[in-house]
Amino acid sequence: MCDTCGCQLHEHHQHDTKVVEVNKSLLEANQKQAHSNRHHIEKMGALAINMISSPGSGKTTLLERTIEALKDTVKIGVIEGDIETERDADRIRAKGIPAVQLTTGGACHLDAPMVHGGLHVLEHFAKGEGFDLIFIENVGNLVCPSTFDLGEHRRVILLSVPEGSDKPAKYPSTFRGADLVLITKMDLLPHFDFSVEEAEIETHTLKPDVPIIELSSTTGDGFEQWIDYLKEMLKK
């Protein structure tokens, strides 16, 4: 009997087996779309930032404060990713800035095709005026978003003081992909055993040259550095 197909022929006969060398990333579809998103964003005249953190690390609050600081000089657009609700987009709209809410309906991360849809809606809001800076607030999750390029120009990871300074070591793939790490809620430092030094050492072990800024959206401490980072990025 032939082991391959179980047929009753005594001699092993040749199955018509084809071996196809593929050698392609399984994420190729996302990568292609991300690539075209990047072009799309540049054609809109903008650069994009993908913001990744655990739930509640202060992404939306940071955006609110950033908009207050920049809205007179920089045309900002925001794409909000959440599993459910329009709440974050409403908070941004309350600041007079166009915001698109993407609700993933359960998915734990944004991917490039979702952001593509969001860009078209954002463009519609811009009424031909274009943007300088587009923030994409990812779904609160320190694991999955790191796998998916959205077409951003910079990836910013937020780590808030209450989460603990061991997070870079525990979520290496996320911190390894960072272009900038923000340690947020610095005003809470006296109440937690967060070690800024540990967070910095662990982060730099994963990515030696990544800049780290410590700030607080509540007190505004450290904001100057963050705003300078954005202005510097927009100059290039």
């Binding site: 084809k18 071996v19 196809v20 060398e21 399984l26 994420l27 579809a29 734990c108 994963l206």
Partner: protein, 128 residues
């Protein structure tokens, strides 16, 4: 966390490939999961083996996963080394002891920076 959706996209790709090559069954596929891809091998295999049954075309497919060992650059001496990967669930004694020996074999410092390894690649597909 998204291993299931990645397994689904792999199966979609297999269906397309099989059609292109007019094959009736996919028998074997090999995939490389990089050590820093953030993708858990067990979950990926588990997802694949459940989802493949949905179609006659893929239900006999054997998934072979390669997980290359991670490569690190030492931030102290700049040398590159390969340090065997501990799969989640494996070698728990080592993990529990907190003695995970991630030290530069050249200079014994522990400032090792991961190099590459974020890939998730479909290498080869066998079909008939």
């Amino acid at each position: 966390m998204h291993e299931l959706s990645l397994a689904q996209s792999l199966l979609d790709q297999l269906v397309t490939l099989a059609r292109e090559h007019q094959a009736e069954h996919v028998t074997r596929i090999s995939v490389t999961i990089g050590p820093f891809s953030g993708i858990v091998r067990d979950s990926f295999e588990f997802g694949f083996n459940i989802l493949k049954d949905a179609q006659p075309l893929t239900k006999d497919a054997v998934l072979v996963v390669e997980t290359p060992d991670p490569v690190y650059t030492c931030l102290d001496c700049n040398k590159v080394s390969v340090i065997p990967f501990v799969q989640p669930g494996e070698a728990t004694e080592m993990n529990l002891g907190g003695g995970y020996p991630k030290k530069c074999p050249w200079c014994c410092q522990n400032r090792l920076s991961p190099k590459g390894g974020t890939e998730l690649i479909l290498n080869q597909v066998e079909m008939e």
